[in-house]
Symmetry: C2
Subunit: 126 residues, 2 copies
C-alpha cells in the first residue's frame, strides 16, 4: 500500500481553483451537480469532469437521490495530505532551517493570522 498515488491524486485534485471552490461549496453540505455547476461560468460536463477527479482522489463520494447524484465531502485524503505536509514542516523546523523557520513563523503570524481567520472561502475563480 504505497499511499504515494493517493497523495498524487489528492494534491493534483487540490491544484485546481475550480475544484477547491467546489470543495468550499461542499463544505457547507451536500449538493447536486447542477447546484455545484451554477456559480461557475462553465458547462455542466466540465463540472462533472472535475467531480470525477475529486472522486478519484477520494475527496468526494456520491449518493443517489432520484435522478440526482448528490456529492458529499470525504475528509480522509485531506488528513493524509495534511499529515504529509505537517511532517515536513516539523522536520525542516528541527533541522538546518530551525532559526530561519522560527523567524519566519514569527513574521507569518502578523500577516497570515488575520488572513487565515476568515472563513475558508477560496475566492479562487471569480
Amino acid at each position: 500500500m504505497v499511499g504515494s498515488e493517493l497523495l498524487d491524486a489528492t494534491f493534483a485534485a487540490l491544484a485546481d481553483p475550480t475544484r477547491r471552490a467546489i470543495l468550499a461549496r461542499l463544505a457547507t453540505g451536500e449538493a447536486t451537480v447542477t447546484e455545484l455547476a451554477a456559480p461557475f461560468a462553465m458547462s455542466q460536463p466540465a463540472i462533472s469532469k472535475h467531480l470525477k477527479v475529486l472522486e478519484r482522489a477520494g475527496l468526494v463520494s456520491r449518493g443517489r437521490d432520484a435522478q440526482r447524484r448528490p456529492c458529499r465531502l470525504e475528509a480522509r485524503p485531506l488528513r493524509e495530505a495534511t499529515a504529509w505536509l505537517a511532517d515536513y514542516r516539523d522536520y525542516w523546523a528541527e533541522s538546518y532551517q530551525r532559526l530561519d523557520a522560527l523567524l519566519d513563523e514569527l513574521q507569518a503570524v502578523d500577516q497570515t493570522d488575520a488572513d487565515r481567520r476568515r472563513s475558508p472561502s477560496d475566492g479562487s475563480r471569480g
Copy 2:
C-alpha cells in the same frame, strides 16, 4: 494578492512523486542538481525541469557556488498549503461531518499514528 495561484502552483508541485522525493532529499540539506538527479532513473534535464516547477511554486530557492546552483528548501508555501488544508479539516469537523469526522479521527490514530511517526521519507518513486 489572490494567493490562489500560489496554492495552484504549490499543490501542483506536490502532486508529483519525483518532486516530493526531491523535497525529501532537500529536507536533509542543500544539494546541487547533479546530486539531486543521482538517485533517479531519469536525465538531468528532467530534474532541472522539476526544479523549475518547484522554484515557480516558491518551494525551493537557488544559490550560486561556482558552476553549481545549489537548491534549498523554502517552507513558506508549505505553510500556506497546510493552513488551507487545516482550515478545511477544522471546518468540516465543526459542521455536518462532526460525528463522522470524530469517529474517523479515532480510527485514524491507530493506523496513522504509527505510520506518521517515521521520518518523512516519501518512498515515492523507486
